[in-house]
Symmetry: C2
Subunit: 114 residues, 2 copies
């Protein structure tokens, strides 16, 4: 029983992972951009991303030395699709999310990483 259903909610039960999901709903981001947004170590961000990926919420796409992460456009699990749709009205009034949205639009991977 600890397999499928709880994995979904476990993935959503960490504030930083929710911030990542909400940020990715704005646009595609690479690891270093997310690191900049959340102010966490690279390895920690990578860990969070793998949790979200394993649960099915996001997918990754390699682009040279970067790895782009994005919302899963075609989740095989209908629950994932449902949750992703609902996230808009579930979380939008929290201050962190609001300021994150502004920051995301200003993030520039060239300036941050290179």
């Amino acid at each position: 029983m600890n397999t499928q259903s709880t994995a979904l909610f476990k993935a959503l039960s960490d504030p930083n992972r929710l911030r990542i999901l909400k940020a990715l709903q704005t646009r595609v981001l690479c690891v270093c951009e997310i690191r900049e947004l959340l102010q966490l170590a690279n390895s920690t961000v990578s860990q969070h991303l793998s949790v979200l990926r394993d649960a099915g919420f996001i997918i990754e796409e390699k682009d040279g030395k970067w790895v782009n992460y994005m919302i899963n456009p075609k989740p095989s699990d209908p629950r994932i699709a449902s949750i992703l749709l609902s996230l808009d009205f579930w979380i939008n009034d929290e201050n962190t999310i609001i300021t994150d949205k502004k920051k995301v639009s200003l993030l520039d991977r060239i300036r941050i990483c290179c």
Copy 2:
């Protein structure tokens, strides 16, 4: 940020709490019936129930020496209402849940507790 949104998902991110929620969607249950269903210590069940109650998923009603727990019929948070509705199609194929449903219909608090 660790306040509202993650509390909802944290409450759902434990397999035993999901089992409790699903069982309560069948009918009202007291603590000792849930203890019997989950095969956990009373104190552990009580703990899980308080997490679900604090998050807003369930309410309690005292009935003599028993405390009846039930799905919150009028959640003030629309996310709770949405999640409770969705739970039906989110979780119904897992073996534990299926056998739980059968067990719940056979639970008898008089036989169990007294």
